[in-house]
Amino acid sequence: MPLIAAFVATIAGWVNKKYCFAVAALGLTGALTSSVGLLSYVLTHGPVQYRLGGWAPPFGIAYQIDPLNALILVVIAAVALLNLLGTQRSVALEFSEKIGAFYTLYLLFVVGMLGIVSTGDAFNLFVLLEIASITGYALIGMGRDRAPLATLNYIFMGTIGASFYLLGVGYLYLITGSLNMADIAAILPQIYASKVVLFAFIFCMAGLFMKMAFFPVHGWLPNAYAYAPSAAAGLIAPLTTKVMVYAMVRIALFVFKPEFTFEQMGIGEPLVWAAVAAIVMGSLLALAQRQLKKMLAYVIVAEVGYMVGGFWLGNRAGISGAVLHIVNDAAMTLVVFMAAGNLFYRLKGDSFGALKGVFREMPVSMAAFVVGALSIIGVPPTCGFFSKWYLISGAIEAGHYGFVAALLFSSLVNAVLFFRIIEIGYFEPFTHANHHGHHQPPVRRFREVPMSMLVPLLVAAGSLILLGVFSGDLVTKVIHLALPGQIT
C-alpha cells in the first residue's frame, strides 16, 4: 500500500495550472479515500512500510504507517477536503486572479502535512515540514492588513523551529549515524547517557514546540491566524499545530523510547506545568480579544497546551487523550474557523460589533458554530468532551491536579468566550420590548451563505458529534493499538 494519497494530490496541484478547482477537489478526494483505505488496511494487517526507491530502510527512505498515523492521515485529508469544498466561493472572492496558485499552494500544503505524518525518516520529516511551512507562509501572507508582518514573524519563528529540529536530527545523526527513525530507536538505548542524545532530544522538542506555538513561544500564531484569508485559516489552523503535536508524539515515543522520554529526562513535570501556563494564558488572552478569529487563535494556543500537557503526563490515558484531542481538535477548529469564514464572507468583518443579530441572518452557519463551540467547551456528546475526559483522567491518574484545574478553568473560560459571541449574535440589536411582551423582531434579511459553503460546514459539524459518539472505538481500536506497550 503505497501512499498514493500524497501523490495524487501533488500531481493534481501541478495539473491544476488550468485554474480548476475540480482537480484539487478530485485530488483530495483521492487522498481521502486512499487514506481511509490505508487505515482499514493497517487496522487489519498491522503496520505497513513502504520503501521509496526500493532501498531498505536505513539506507533509503521509508514510509511507516501504523494505525496512529493512518488515523491522522484520514483526519488531514478530510479536513482539507471539507475546507476546500466549503471555501470555494470565498477563495474566488479573495483571490480572483490567483486561484490557480492558491490551489496549488493549498495542495502542496496538504502534501507536506500528509508526508510529515507518514514518513519514517527524520530528515525527510524536515523537508516536508518546510514544504508545509513555506506554502503556509504564502497562504497566510495573502491576508488582510497586518498579515504580511505577522507572516514574517511566523517565518522567523518557524525557521528557528525547523532549524532547531534539523539540529536535533543532526545530533542524532552524529551520535548514531542513522536517519531512519526505527534504526535510531534501535541504536539509541545503548547511549542514553550521552549528553548529545539529551541535547538532540531537547532540540527536536524545542523546534517542534516553536512550530506548534506552545506557550511561551506562541507569539507568532494569533496574528498569523487572525489575519489569514478565511480559506487558508480554515486549512492551516486545524492542521499545523495538530500535526506538529503528532510529530512530537512520534519523535518522543518512537524515536526515543518512552522510558527515555518519560523517565530519564525528567522534564515531564515542568512541561506539564508549562502546558498549564499555556492553557491558562491562552484562555485569558482569548478573553481579552475583541475579534472573532483572534480569539479563536488564542483558543488554539490553549488547545495546544491540552495536547502537550496530556502527552507529557506520560500515562496511557493522558497520551490517548492527547492523540484523541489531535483528531478532535482538528475537527472542531475546522468547524469554528469555517463558520467564522462564512461569517466573514457575508459580514466583511469579524469584530464582535459586526456580529450583532447574526443568528437571524445566518442561522445555519451559527448553528454549526455553536456545535463547534460546545465541543471546544467540552459538552457531551460532542467529541471535545471525550478527549477532555481522557486528559483529565490521565491527569488524575498521574496525580497532577494543576493540570486538572487548568483544563476545567479553560472549559469555563471557553464557555464564557463562546457565549459572549452567541449572546451578541442572538440578542443584539435588542428588540424593543413593550410592556405586553409583544415583540417585533427586527426585520433583517435572511442572508445565509450559499449551499456550497453550508453543506461542508454542516458535515464537519456533524462529524464532531460522530467523533464524540465513536470515540470509544477510536481509542480502543486505533490509538491503543499504536501506543507502545510500555506505557501503562
Binding site: 476545567l408 405586553h436 415583540h439 470509544g472
Partner: protein, 493 residues
C-alpha cells in the same frame, strides 16, 4: 428482578428529538402544533407501554454505544426512572396545549424555534430519567442546559440576556466546575459509573473524600437549586410562562433533584451513606434551603418569583427526603417529585393565564381577580393546597411520608423544619387566594371586562388540578413505583 434488552427507552428519548426537523420544516402553525402534539402523545404512549414491564419487576436496558472502555451511553428503565419519565412526559402533553394558547394569545415571535427547543428539552429530560450511568446522565443534563437557554431568553431583550447569562453561568459553571470533576474522580476511584441499587462507592475512598465528592455532586447539579446555587431560578422567570411552568417546575429543576437522588442512591448507596454518616450534613443544607427559600418567597411580590422561591424550597424537600436515608423518606421524596410537579405546574399555568388575560404580573395587583377569573383562581387554590400539603391534594401524601421518614430516622429538628416550612407555604400562598376572592368591590382592581383566559390556557390547569386531587385518593401508581425503587436499594418496605 430480571433485565431485558429493549429499544423502547431509546425511542422515548429520540421521539422528541426527531420531531424537531419536522417542526422546523413545517410552515404552517397548525401543522407544527399538530406535530408537537403527536410527538408528545407518542412519547407518553411509549413511556406508558413500559410501565407494565417495570411493575412486573423487569428492568429494560438499552446500550447505545460504548464511548469509552467500560463506559457506555446506556439507558435503563427502573422504577425510579419510570416515575420521573411518566410525570414529565405526561406534563409535556398538557404543557404543549397550554403553550399553544399562551403563545397565540400573546402573539409571540419565533414560535418555531420555541417549539423545537421545547421538544429538545423534553428529550433531554427523558434522557436523564432513563440514564443508566453517570456519563449518560451528565450528557443529557448538559444537553438540557443548552436546549433551555433559547427558551429562557426567548424575549431576546436586555433582561433576558442578563438572566440568560446568569442561568448559564450557574448551571454550566457548576456542572463543569463541580459535577464533571466529581464524576471523573469517581470514575478514577472505582472504574465504573454505572448506577446500582447499593451504590458502588463503598470502600473506594476515605470518608472525607467521599464527603467532598458528595457535595461536589449536590452543588454541581445546580438545577436542583440548593442554596447557594439557587439564584438562577428566580432569574430564569423572565421566560414565557409555559417555559417556566414545564421547565422550572417540572423538567429542569426536577432533573436537578433527580440527579441528586440518583447520586445518593445509585452512586453512593443509601446504606453506605448511612454507615459513614453523610446524610446529616446534606439534610442540614437542604433544611437551610427549605426555610430560607420559604422566607424569601414571603417577601416577593412578583407572582412568578414567589412561585420560583417556593419551588426552591420544595425541591429541597426532595433532597431532604433523600438525605434522611430512610425508606419512608426516600419514598416521600420520590413521590414528591410527582406531587409537586402537578401542583406547581398548576400554579404556573394559572400565573400565565392571569398574565394572558390581564397582563398583570405582581401579586399586589391581583386583588379581586378571583371574581373575574373564578375558574383560574379555584384551580390556583387547589394547586396551592397541594404544594402546602393539605387535603384533598396529592401533596399531602408525599409530605406525610417525608414526615414519617424524619421520625424513622430520629431527626426531630428536621421534622420541625418540615412543619415550619409548611406553615410558611401556607402563609405565602393562601393570602393570594384570599385577597383574590374576598375583597370589597372598591378594592378590586379589575374592570368587569376582564374575562377568563382563552380556552387553551384554561383547560390544562384544570386538568392538572384535577389530577392533583385524584392523586390524593389514588397515589398508588407512583407510590408503588417508589416503593419498588426503595426495595431495590435493599430496604424492606
Amino acid at each position: 428482578m430480571h433485565t431485558i434488552f429493549s429499544i423502547k427507552p431509546l425511542i422515548a428519548v429520540l421521539i422528541s428529538m426527531l420531531v424537531t426537523p419536522v417542526l422546523v420544516s413545517s410552515k404552517n402553525a397548525n401543522i407544527r402544533e399538530g406535530w408537537t402534539f403527536t410527538a408528545a402523545a407518542l412519547k407518553f404512549a411509549v413511556v406508558l407501554s413500559m410501565l407494565p414491564a417495570v411493575l412486573d419487576h423487569t428492568v429494560l436496558e438499552c446500550t447505545l454505544i460504548e464511548v469509552m472502555p467500560g463506559l457506555a451511553i446506556k439507558f435503563r428503565v427502573d422504577p425510579m426512572a419510570m416515575l420521573f419519565a411518566l410525570v414529565s412526559s405526561f406534563l409535556w402533553i398538557v404543557t404543549s396545549a397550554y403553550s399553544i394558547g399562551y403563545m397565540r394569545g400573546l402573539d409571540e415571535h419565533s414560535q418555531t424555534r420555541y417549539f423545537c427547543f421545547f421538544a429538545l428539552s423534553l428529550s433531554a429530560t427523558i434522557g436523564v430519567a432513563f440514564a443508566a450511568n453517570l456519563l449518560t446522565l451528565y450528557l443529557f443534563y448538559e444537553l438540557l442546559s443548552f436546549a433551555t437557554y433559547p427558551l429562557v431568553t426567548h424575549h431576546q431583550d436586555k433582561e433576558a440576556r442578563s438572566s440568560g447569562r446568569k442561568y448559564l453561568f450557574y448551571i454550566v459553571g457548576s456542572s463543569i466546575g463541580l459535577a464533571l470533576p466529581a464524576m471523573l474522580v469517581t470514575y478514577h476511584l472505582t472504574g465504573t459509573l454505572e448506577f446500582s441499587g447499593q451504590g458502588f462507592m463503598a470502600g473506594a475512598a476515605s470518608k472525607s473524600t467521599l464527603a467532598v465528592l458528595l457535595f461536589m455532586f449536590v452543588f454541581g447539579f445546580a438545577k436542583a437549586g440548593i442554596m447557594p446555587f439557587h439564584s438562577w431560578l428566580p432569574a430564569a422567570m423572565v421566560a414565557p410562562t409555559p417555559v417556566s411552568a414545564l421547565l422550572h417546575a417540572v423538567a429542569v429543576v426536577k432533573v436537578g433533584v433527580f440527579c441528586i437522588l440518583r447520586v445518593v442512591t445509585g452512586v453512593f448507596g443509601v446504606q453506605h451513606l448511612n454507615v459513614i454518616g453523610l446524610g446529616t450534613p446534606l439534610a442540614v443544607v437542604a433544611a437551610v434551603t427549605v426555610i430560607t427559600a420559604s422566607l424569601i418567597a414571603l417577601s416577593q411580590d412578583g407572582l412568578k418569583r414567589r412561585l420560583a422561591f417556593s419551588t426552591i424550597g420544595q425541591l429541597s424537600y426532595i433532597v431532604l427526603g433523600a438525605a434522611l436515608l430512610s425508606p419512608k423518606g426516600l419514598i416521600g421524596s420520590m413521590v414528591h417529585i410527582a406531587m409537586h410537579a402537578f401542583g406547581k405546574i398548576t400554579l404556573f399555568f394559572c400565573a400565565g393565564a392571569i398574565f394572558v388575560a390581564t397582563g398583570v404580573k405582581n401579586i399586589s395587583d391581583m386583588v379581586g381577580i378571583g371574581k373575574r377569573m373564578p375558574v383560574t383562581m379555584t384551580v390556583f387554590l387547589i394547586g396551592a393546597l397541594s404544594v402546602i400539603g393539605l387535603p384533598p391534594c396529592g401533596g399531602l401524601i408525599s409530605k406525610w411520608n417525608l414526615v414519617l421518614g424524619t421520625l424513622e430516622a430520629d431527626q426531630f429538628p428536621l421534622l420541625i423544619v418540615l412543619l415550619v416550612s409548611s406553615i410558611l407555604n401556607a402563609a405565602y400562598f393562601l393570602p393570594i387566594v384570599y385577597r383574590a376572592f374576598f375583597c370589597t368591590e372598591e378594592e378590586s382592581q379589575f374592570e368587569n371586562q376582564v374575562k377568563e383566559a382563552p380556552r387553551w390556557c384554561l383547560v390544562p390547569p384544570v386538568i392538572t388540578a384535577c389530577l392533583s386531587v385524584v392523586l390524593f385518593f389514588y397515589p398508588q401508581p407512583f407510590f408503588n413505583l417508589a416503593r419498588m425503587a426503595v426495595r431495590s436499594m435493599g430496604f424492606d418496605v
